[in-house]
């Protein structure tokens, strides 16, 4: 039994050491930029930029094949951060700064088909078959995917409902 324990331990340690050395010699230099870019993106995989998700989009931005302004839900803030990370200058006037929007379902038109919440990347739509759906505003990123899928056109994007917790002072108007 001692022999079994000893040989198995030795085998494990030996193979582990060999793999460790191999990993040192065969290490692949991966650009850390891709990970940093991906962290800045919203991560909701909405696909509005035309890439299948935030991962491929981050790779494209890091490689320089996509502009830093590619993320519509991220808006100007994300574009600014990406530009400063990558050290590129960008014309931010082209990025329209929209107030945050969330999806809203008109209950009168909803037929409870569940298509929108199957599509929602952040699970922000609640409901069930033949039940009127509703949007959970805290989770909605306003990506607008559900709008395209609704067969009765009952979803629209609009400013989130104002409550005591999200109300802010209006920006003072310039004199």
């Amino acid at each position: 039994m001692i022999a079994a324990i000893f040989s198995l331990t030795a085998l494990g340690l030996g193979l582990g050491a060999l793999l460790g050395i191999a990993a040192r010699y065969l290490a692949v230099q991966e650009s850390p930029i891709v990970g940093q870019v991906e962290e800045l993106l919203p991560g909701s995989q909405c696909g509005q930029c035309g890439y299948p998700g935030c991962g491929p989009a981050a790779a494209a931005v890091a490689a320089g094949t996509a502009p830093v302004t590619l993320c519509p839900p991220g808006g100007r803030a994300v574009a600014e951060e990406l530009a400063s990370l990558l050290g590129v200058s960008v014309d931010l006037s082209a990025v329209t700064e929209e107030a945050p929007k969330v999806a809203h379902i008109h209950e009168r038109l909803c037929i409870g088909c569940t298509r929108c919440f199957k599509r929602c990347p952040t699970d922000a739509i609640i409901g069930a078959n033949d039940q009127i759906h509703a949007v959970f505003e805290d989770a909605c990123t306003g990506c607008g995917k559900c709008v395209d899928d609704c067969p009765t056109e009952c979803i629209e994007l609009r400013a989130p409902t104002q409550t005591l917790t999200n109300w802010v002072w209006p920006v003072p108007e310039a004199a």
């Binding site: 079994a4 040989s7 085998l11 793999l19």
Partner: protein, 191 residues
């Protein structure tokens, strides 16, 4: 020399691991959608199988036999195979990032490819020498690669064929696999 050639022929065609012994069916069905990835998978498995056959022979003769701990055979073989697969993954990642992306999850899954463990155990069972073990492993892997490429080619044509709805997709692929297996039975009289 002739006996090694015969051994390669016998393992690759007559006793094909996939179609005659029915080992390694997981990558056979999983990675045979496209010719490129099937060939890549076959080459990666060839590398792993040959190395694992040699390493497991050394392990059997130098450690398990002298210490009389044959009951650890499967455990230690799996350990060695896992290490070899890990090594292969590093090599593939270094040499061909595209192949690494195409193979994806199936690369680490070579560990659980029963053909790899099966060949190592068959080597012990049939008391092969070191060189014989290597040739046996290489021949089996050659057969595996051949079948993968053949099957991938068939499936690429199959994708365009008009198949009854009930058979579309995996069922017709399994039927084709069965027919291919029948065809390989024709090699039985060769050796």
């Amino acid at each position: 020399m002739t006996e090694y050639l015969m051994l390669i022929l016998a393992t690759a065609l007559v006793n094909n691991v996939v179609l005659v012994k029915f080992l390694g069916l997981c990558p056979f069905m999983g990675v045979s959608n496209k010719l490129d990835s099937a060939l890549g998978m076959g080459l990666a498995t060839t590398f792993v199988l040959t190395l694992a056959a040699g390493a497991s022979w050394l392990l059997q003769e130098l450690v398990l036999e002298p210490l009389n701990i044959g009951f650890l055979r499967i455990l230690t073989f799996i350990l060695v195979i896992a290490a070899v697969v890990q090594f292969t993954e590093m090599v593939v990642r270094k040499l061909s990032p595209t192949l690494y992306q195409v193979l994806g999850i199936f690369l680490p899954l070579i560990t659980t490819n029963c053909a790899v463990l099966g060949v190592a155990l068959l080597n012990v069972q049939e008391h092969h020498g070191f060189l014989e073990s290597l040739v046996y492993g290489f021949g089996s892997a050659l057969g595996f690669t051949l079948v993968m490429v053949l099957f991938a080619g068939l499936r690429e044509r199959l994708a365009l064929a008009q198949v009854p709805a009930a058979f579309a997709g995996t069922p017709i692929a399994l039927v084709v696999a069965g027919l291919l297996s029948l065809a390989f039975m024709g090699f039985a009289g060769l050796a």
